[in-house]
Amino acid sequence: MMGKYAAVMMPGLRYHRTHFWSRPSDAGSTFGFTSYAIRLMQDVYFLDWQVNAGDKVKLLEQIGHIETSKAVSDLFAPVAGMVKSFNQEVLSDPSLINVDGFGKGWLFEMECDATAGMDVHEYMKFLEDNWEKTQRMLKGKINSGDD
């Protein structure tokens, strides 16, 4: 898929347009970056949350920022709800995201609708459908000084 190396997805999770996965938990859902997001960003250097545990967030509200070896990005709430907690281990060692993105590299827990999002097949289709657009967007950035 989309490049020489496939980004392996985990079945049984919910996937979001913001390229987070979520897994139902006691608190609601646990969220992390999908392997696709990690493939694009590569090594995570710095992760910063702009909301606190207990804060209510709206869908697509900015909640944080990430800097990696290849990219920077603001991060946005994948669903509406209340942030219950952040993975402190990942904050002190963001490389866990790269090492075990679907496991120990989880990011935060939210009290939210655990059924929101797409299943793995829908997410893969979403990626395929948007691949052209993604390429154009990335290319657009790169050539914006020339064209």
């Binding site: 913001t18 493939r39 290849k70 290319k139 657009g140």
Partner: protein, 336 residues
């Protein structure tokens, strides 16, 4: 043998974070014992208002200078430039990412497209970011390296040392003018908030002037855009920075590195902005929302996208520019 010394200015962090203060104290203590170096300590560079003694102190440094601050080097450099403390930006090697061979081979260095600084001052300013490492020895090593580099330069092209008066609160304070007392230099300024223009990127397109409705920007006698009324700027609002097509506007205290002045040019700092991919809105829409919020706070009407929005960007989004290498590297053999 030159008796000139390298002036090091340590700019303190805002607030009283003990970790940051601790690093500052370790660096200061080691520099006081370091031969060939004079140390001056000032509050956070961004907050120094025009009459502040710390700023006057810096304005009176005429030779090469090392500035240690809690700011991205690009932000610190252009902040000083705006304050009339100009020079060439020195290259520093502390924690600089080394480009891989592949990147070097394919590397296409970005050409500076901006209008540049108004005055070229023949001295070098080295800006070090105190967030790079918590190990004070790394800074000391880098300052020693810079000192050696400066000495080479001083020896090959001797300046007029007699005309260079270096004033500072240093070990030699008793020999020097008392014009800048340590207490005055460290007097805590109040927090400030304003944009800083990177003129190596600014093309003088004036889009920020059109966009800002608070009178922050102006045009100088050379018809160049400049931050005219710094203190008219709205605290926390970085909207004009999002509108700038060249990402030339920095808010050094803003939380997102791209806006705070993280490197966007040169070999080491090229990064793709994936904000849109991760669900972020169009930068212009976000900017207009931020501006509206400030307008409403001022009791004025929100204008949305109706005023001062450039028409240029269909299909483009602001964000750090990048080169093809990173894309190729990130996406693996993209067949385009």
């Amino acid at each position: 043998m030159s008796q000139r010394k390298l002036q090091v200015v340590l700019s303190q962090a805002q607030g009283r974070d003990p970790v940051r203060r601790g690093l500052e104290e370790e660096i200061a203590a080691s520099l006081l014992l370091e031969p060939g170096v004079d140390l001056g300590i000032v509050p956070h560079l961004y907050d120094l208002n025009p009459g502040h003694t710390g700023r006057l102190f810096m304005e009176n440094i005429h030779g090469d200078m090392v500035v240690l601050s809690w700011l991205y080097p690009r932000a610190a450099y252009w902040l000083l430039d705006r304050n009339g403390i100009g020079g060439k930006l020195g290259e520093t090697s502390i924690l600089a990412e080394q480009p891989s061979e592949e990147e070097e081979e394919n590397g296409e260095e970005q050409k500076p497209t901006g209008i540049g600084s108004v005055k070229e001052v023949n001295r070098t300013i080295y800006c070090l970011d105190l967030r790079d490492t918590r190990d004070h020895r790394k800074y000391l090593e880098e300052i020693r390296r810079i000192l050696a580099e400066c000495k080479d330069r001083w020896n090959t092209a001797p300046d007029k040392p007699s005309s260079v008066i270096q004033l500072g609160i240093t070990k030699k304070v008793e020999e020097q003018s008392q014009a800048f007392s340590q207490d005055d230099m460290l007097k805590a300024p109040s927090r400030r908030w304003y944009p800083v223009i990177d003129y190596s990127r600014c093309t003088n397109c004036m889009e920020c002037l059109d966009f800002c409705l608070f009178g922050v920007y102006g045009v100088d006698s050379l018809s160049r855009i400049f931050v005219d009324n710094q203190d008219s700027c709205k605290k926390g609002c970085p909207a004009c920075s999002r509108v700038c097509p060249e990402q030339a506007i920095m808010f050094p205290d803003y939380k997102s590195p791209a806006i705070a002045g993280a490197p966007v040019g040169g070999i080491s700092g090229l990064k793709i902005d994936l904000t849109k991919l991760f669900g972020g809105g169009d930068a212009l829409v976000v900017a207009a929302q931020e501006r509206d919020a400030e307008l409403v706070k001022d009791g004025r009407d929100a204008v949305g996208l109706a005023v001062g929005i450039p028409k240029r960007q269909t299909g483009k989004q602001s964000g750090p520019k990048d080169d093809l290498d990173n894309l190729m590297d990130a996406l693996d053999n993209l067949e385009v």
